[in-house]
């Protein structure tokens, strides 16, 4: 048996629905149709009345989830694409994110964002929005890179009493497979050493972990041992694991698929530079998408986001610094 990243997300939701009667799923086409990507396939049938089709009203989808959470439910909201979550942005960042801080009442909602680029997706079906959500206090932002994490982190997201942005990468949906679902998991907030190495650290998350692993494989043939850190969640960000890795390697490259201004890679570099300056043998580097909307044509798209090729170039450059 093998299970994809997408199926793991479906299975996690099935388990959440089965284990906890407070859980329900709400989003466009998630009911009988099973969702635009089939992440809720058959769930409406298996859990009658608990998987509801929403109108095309992202603001109201999130707002109603907040209200239901106040009354004790644990909603899972599916955005059809991460890009459309901006329509619900106000409810997410102003209402959901501030509720506990203002009232001491928790807001246990999970918002699933199918995001990231795929070939031909274009500017409005490709965005990586983890950084803007991470910017707001009061939100947890998960960015699973593996089938196992997609499963266990989504279950944890539902169990956490705070609002969670669950950024699932569309490119990984079908590409990534595992033998079976995990029975135990690392807790959220802990990064994972995806590959050990002593010459340089590449910090990545979501789909970029796999690009980084490909680079590590390639550089290994040249005698360079790259350590790859998979952040798993960008908020909280596991500074300790990053710092420990940089202490071993002395070199840092941080890679993200989203835009260069600010963001996760800037945060990682800022933390390492301020807290671990002595650990560094070379200036810390970061690599992001280009500072334009995500282009439609695959030729442009492939040049817009970091790929194994551009990461390898950045890594080789860092070795020379």
């Amino acid at each position: 048996m093998s299970i994809t990243y997408l199926e793991a997300i479906r299975e996690a939701q099935a388990k959440a629905l089965a284990d906890d009667p407070r859980v329900y799923i709400y989003g466009q086409d998630v009911g009988a149709f099973g969702g635009a990507f089939k992440a809720t396939k058959n769930l409406a049938k298996e859990f009658p009345g608990r998987v509801l089709d929403a109108p095309i009203s992202e603001d109201a989808m999130v707002g109603s989830a907040i209200g239901a959470a106040i009354e004790g439910m644990r909603p899972i909201i599916e955005m059809q694409f991460a890009d459309f979550s901006t329509i619900g942005f106000n409810q997410i960042v102003n209402q959901a994110a501030s509720l506990f801080w203002r009232t001491n009442v928790t807001c246990p909602i999970t918002i699933r964002l199918p995001g990231g680029g795929t070939s031909g997706g274009g500017p409005f079906h490709s965005q990586s929005l983890e950084a803007i959500y991470a910017h707001f206090p009061g939100l947890i932002v998960m960015t699973p890179a593996t089938v196992e994490d997609a499963y266990s982190m989504l279950l944890e997201a539902v169990a956490i009493d705070d609002p969670v942005i669950f950024f699932e990468h569309k490119y990984l949906y079908y590409h990534l497979k595992a033998e079976k679902l995990p029975t135990e998991a690392m807790p959220t907030g802990k990064a994972r050493i995806a590959r050990a190495g002593r010459d340089m650290t590449i910090v990545a998350y979501s789909a970029m972990v796999h690009e980084a692993l490909a680079v590590a494989e390639e550089l290994a043939t040249e005698g360079t041992e790259v350590e790859v850190v998979d952040l798993r969640s960008v908020k909280p960000l596991d500074t300790d694991t990053i710092m420990a890795s940089v202490a071993r390697t002395g070199r840092l490259l941080c890679v993200g698929e989203s835009w260069p201004w600010g963001g996760v890679t800037a945060e990682v570099v800022a933390r390492v530079s301020t807290e671990g300056f002595d650990l560094l043998d070379a200036p810390p580097q970061r690599l992001n998408a280009k500072d334009t909307p995500v282009p439609y044509h695959p030729n442009l798209w492939a040049a817009h986001r970091p790929t194994a090729r551009s990461i390898a170039a950045a890594a080789r450059n860092l070795l020379r610094l």
């Binding site: 466009q28 086409d29 009911g31 009988a32 149709f33 635009a36 089709d53 929403a54 109108p55 095309i56 009203s57 603001d59 109201a60 694409f81 890009d83 459309f84 901006t86 329509i87 795929t118 070939s119 031909g120 997706g121 274009g122 500017p123 409005f124 079906h125 260069p260 201004w261 580097q285 690599l287 992001n288 280009k290 500072d291 334009t292 909307p293 282009p295 439609y296 044509h297 695959p298 030729n299 442009l300 492939a302 040049a303 817009h304 551009s310 170039a313 950045a314 450059n317 860092l318």
Partner: protein
């Protein structure tokens, strides 16, 4: 009471109407042929990403495009190949955008239905549904500021799109400012897989008109005759200062949401219902019955459309693909303010 019913006497002379009808029919055929070609290119793996067709909605769409004139604003949506062509978009622009040619209006940066030429009044949609309506409002406000009289703006939306806050905000905005906006809703029973029963609870979407204080029109969206007459009326009313017009057409999407979708969720009863009839067939029957054209002519027109589309595709297939090294990676017009994030 602001609702109007289809006014069958406003288009003027019968012969004029016949000419308009024939023009519209030919526009519908061209759009259908273009859509069919895009679908086959998609199946052949020649198109990156999704393909979204307007099959079954050509009569409504073409009527919107034809009712506008130069200087007007048009912000079409996903199922508006016919309306775009009628408004003046070329087949080449459509094919270049779908096939990602750097020579197209979107320069391979954006694709498929996300295309337009703002300077020519054809606004390029973003994906976020409802977002174009207020943009058209703004264009009309600008026309007012500039003293440019007599222009109107039209934009299209689906039944699902009416659930967005953007729809409600923009319709209210247009009403408050009494803008010459024509907002055309294609109620095709579904938003992707979601039936209208999960989308809204009012009897008919045209009932929204009265709530916002705008004029409402409803019609059978697969009847070209009704589409032409209703859109003509709505546009003339907007043009003559009677404020926003909400046009709601009932029809059926005769294709998947996109070409990846087999739409097996569609209630088979709709396919045999009157509004499930193919507008192209309805128009054809009408033409023949009125003796406005002969079967031979219909075939000729179809062949001409096929040739036009094939020519455009042949041109685009010979065009270069975009070169990322020549691409100007800058999203600002003020180049000196661009930070330019050089690669390491």
């Amino acid at each position: 009471m602001v609702h109007t019913v289809v006014d069958r006497g406003t288009v003027g002379e019968a012969s004029v109407f016949r000419d308009t009808y024939l023009k519209a029919y030919r526009g519908m055929v061209l759009a259908r042929v273009l859509d069919d070609k895009l679908a086959s290119l998609y199946r052949g793996g020649k198109i990156h990403g999704g393909v979204f067709l307007g099959r079954g909605q050509e009569a409504l769409s073409v009527a919107v495009g034809l009712s506008l004139r130069k200087g007007d604003i048009f912000a079409p949506l996903i199922r508006d190949a016919a309306g775009r062509l009628a408004f003046g978009e070329t087949v080449l622009d459509a094919v270049r955008t779908y096939m990602g040619s750097p020579l197209g209006p979107m320069r391979a940066r954006d694709g498929n239905v996300h295309r337009g030429r703002p300077r020519e009044g054809l606004f390029p949609m973003v994906s976020h549904l409802g977002a174009m309506i207020s943009v058209v409002n703004g264009a009309l406000l600008a026309h007012r500021f500039k003293g440019k009289a007599g222009t109107v703006g039209a934009t299209c939306l689906g039944d699902g799109g009416t659930s967005t806050g953007a729809f409600h905000e923009a319709l209210n905005q247009a009403a408050v400012e009494r803008l010459p906006l024509i907002l055309v809703i294609a109620n095709n029973e579904y938003a992707y897989s979601t039936p209208t029963t999960s989308q809204f609870a009012c009897e008919n979407l045209v009932d929204r008109a009265i709530g916002y204080g705008v004029k409402g029109h409803s019609l059978e969206g697969n009847d070209l005759d009704a589409c032409l007459k209703t859109l003509h009326t709505a546009v003339e009313q907007a043009r003559s200062g009677q404020g926003p017009q909400l046009v709601v057409a009932k029809l059926l999407r005769l294709c998947g949401h996109g070409e990846h979708d087999d739409s097996n969720y569609v209630d088979p009863r709709f396919r045999t219902a009157p509004h499930g009839r193919d507008c192209l067939k309805v128009a054809e029957e009408h033409l023949l019955q009125q003796k406005w054209a002969e079967a031979k002519a219909l075939e000729t027109w179809r062949n001409e459309a096929i040739q036009k589309v094939e020519e455009a595709v042949a041109i685009v297939q010979r065009e270069p693909t975009p070169d990322p090294y020549k691409e100007n990676w800058c999203a600002l017009s003020a180049k000196h303010l661009s930070e330019g994030y050089d690669e390491p």
